[in-house]
């Protein structure tokens, strides 16, 4: 008799708990670079709009895009553009991916604060991460072997950095860390370390230097912490942070996107360390009616 009572109580609790899932939950998956920012945006959005539910998870840009292609999420966070193979796959699955730009990022190259090398050219960066330059003394530092910290192949940052800076393959000796935070922690504790992270993770971090980068030898060294440099293109590793949706955004998806692009949303983007959208991308977004 007692056991029956306990069973009924458990069932009752389960039913109570499940009633909240009647509401439609927006699924957002993907980039580790975007995750903190989009989580904060959705928290504020949910506070202001009772009855709306948003779930944000990570896994890397590649994972998010794959989820969109397989119809497993509503919005894919991507810190890189979709590849043409991915777009073909999506269309083959009946998904029509549309890109919305929600913020700007300057990928920050970070080194340990004890390392007095604080500026590098794009060419030197490429050589370092391709594994062609293996000692800090080759770029003006101490005689220390260079320890590389990067992301894994599911990361949009990994792919973007490879295409923009390396134009080749990463060194097989590079440590593939699980996310931006892990790279920051690794470089913090390794005097010979160098890594790349989204600017939101580098801005407030202690124990690291953000390297200034020159697009060509002889050009000025620009910092990703400087909003003007990122906007003007003086900082060569700037990129738009995207969200991909299926088809023209409607309903709950559209409302959330509009919130992200509003003044309040862009203010949150700024608080999280990234940069608000420049005009050219505002125009791009407006083509989707946003």
């Amino acid at each position: 008799m007692k056991k029956l009572l306990v069973l009924i109580m458990c069932l009752g609790i389960m039913l109570l708990g499940s009633s909240s899932s009647h509401a439609q939950m927006l699924q957002i998956k993907g980039s580790d670079t975007l995750i903190n920012m989009v989580q904060r945006l959705s928290e504020v959005y949910m506070e202001k709009n009772a009855g709306k539910y948003i779930a944000v998870t990570g896994g890397g840009s590649g994972t998010g895009i794959a989820a969109l292609i397989n119809g497993k999420c509503d919005i894919a966070n991507a810190s890189r553009g979709m590849k043409s193979k991915e777009i073909d796959n999506a269309k083959g699955n009946g998904i029509s991916p549309k890109r919305v730009v929600i913020a700007m990022d300057g990928i920050s190259v970070i080194t340990n604060q004890e390392n007095y090398v604080t500026q590098l050219t794009m060419d030197e960066l490429g050589k370092i991460f391709r594994g062609e330059v293996t000692n800090w003394k080759e770029v003006g530092g101490d005689d220390m072997p260079i320890n590389l910290y990067g992301r894994q192949s599911n990361s949009g940052t990994f792919v973007f950095f490879m295409e923009a800076v390396l134009k080749g393959d990463y060194s097989p000796k590079m440590n593939r860390m699980n996310g931006n935070s892990q790279i920051v922690e690794a470089v913090k504790s390794d005097p010979s370390g160098i890594g790349y992270v989204g600017v939101g993770y580098a801005k407030e971090a202690t124990g690291i230097n953000v390297v200034k980068v020159a697009a060509r030898p002889g050009a000025t060294y620009a910092s990703p912490l400087n909003a003007a440099d990122v906007k003007s293109g003086a900082y060569p590793i700037a990129r738009p942070l995207n969200q991909y949706v299926n088809g023209s955004p409607k309903g709950a998806v559209r409302e959330f996107l509009e919130f992200e692009l509003s003044a309040e949303g862009q203010q949150i983007v700024d608080e999280l360390g990234f940069f608000p959208i420049p005009n050219e991308y505002e125009e791009y977004n407006s083509k989707l009616g946003l």
Binding site: S61, G62, N147, S153, L166, P172, N175, R176, Q182, G193
Partner: protein, 293 residues
């Protein structure tokens, strides 16, 4: 009536056993079915003998698993070197030396160790063990094969301790009494009589521990650095087969060559575990024939 009940119960147990075999066979077939299409594009010699794994390469995709195989075996061997002496020693302590009260506390504690989630252990590897390793070896970074080995040893230890202790406990008391009666000390009895008598169970526990270490994914993903290069020493960053599959499966486009190649890695893991179990079975069988009274 009882004849029918008897038959039904027998059939029920038969179904259960049959079902388990079906699941195992099914997993193998699924792996095979999804791994074979990859070999339409990848040459088997490249897969088995090349050490470059780079399916998302800028230039040409390469699919060689040798570096991963070496990494997996390095961390596993390292884990066993630590866990087997420690584990069998602990089992010997618990079964022969510890007082009943100590045993009552220690055995559940060892079993709780088995219940710690692998993410937590991986986390400890990054935050706690990594800096210690870096300091003691003079390296800049503690995310390497040694880190993975120590963590995997911690995970394999409860299995080895538990099963070895059970094996030692099931040695007939008459063996121990006869040995002591002949004048051997407790120490000599443990080492020269009980452990050899229980060796089949101890070997089985080591094999299970090895299986656990080979298949462990999350811990090695977090704590070994994941560099795909061929490792040259235990202080190098390594990437095991399990970590490779875990990293890449999330973002791979379904049904592409890359997708199928990950299943091929899974198939290799399955075959390795199968061979280990087969070998331990054969060894146990032969040993039992010798020791059988």
């Amino acid at each position: 009536m009882t004849r029918i009940k008897d038959k039904l119960i027998k059939f029920f147990f038969f179904l259960n056993g049959f079902f388990v075999i079906v699941i195992l066979g099914g997993i193998f077939l699924l792996l095979l079915r999804n791994a074979l299409p990859s070999f339409e594009e990848i040459r088997l010699t490249e897969f088995l003998f090349s050490s470059k794994w780079n399916p998302t390469s800028y230039y040409k995709e390469t699919y060689g698993i040798v570096a991963m195989l070496v990494s997996t075996f390095m961390v596993t061997l390292g884990a066993l070197v630590i866990a087997i002496p420690l584990g069998v020693g602990t089992a010997g302590y618990l079964s022969d030396v510890a007082s009943p009260r100590v045993r009552e506390i220690a055995k559940p504690v060892v079993e709780i160790l088995a219940g710690i989630p692998s993410v937590v252990i991986g986390f400890l590897g990054i935050v706690f063990l990594g800096p210690i390793i870096a300091k003691t070896t003079g390296q800049y970074n503690g995310l390497n094969a040694i880190n993975g080995s120590i963590l995997l040893a911690v995970m394999a230890l409860p299995t080895i301790v538990s099963l070895s202790e059970d094996a030692l406990g099931s040695v007939p008391k008459s063996f121990q009494e006869a040995s002591l009666a002949l004048g051997a000390s407790h120490w000599q009895t443990l080492i020269k009589v009980k452990i050899p008598a229980a060796s089949s169970g101890i070997l089985a526990s080591c094999m299970l521990g090895m299986g656990r270490a080979i298949g462990e994914t999350m811990t090695v993903l977090m704590a070994t650095g994941n560099a795909p290069a061929m490792p040259h020493s235990f202080l190098d960053s390594v990437r095991t087969m399990t970590a490779t599959v875990a990293i890449e499966l999330g973002e791979v486009p379904y049904y592409s060559t890359h997708f199928y190649s990950l299943f091929a890695i899974g198939l290799v893991l399955f075959i390795i575990t199968f061979i280990i179990n087969l070998i331990s079975d054969v060894v146990l069988h032969n040993y039992e024939k010798k020791v059988r009274y």
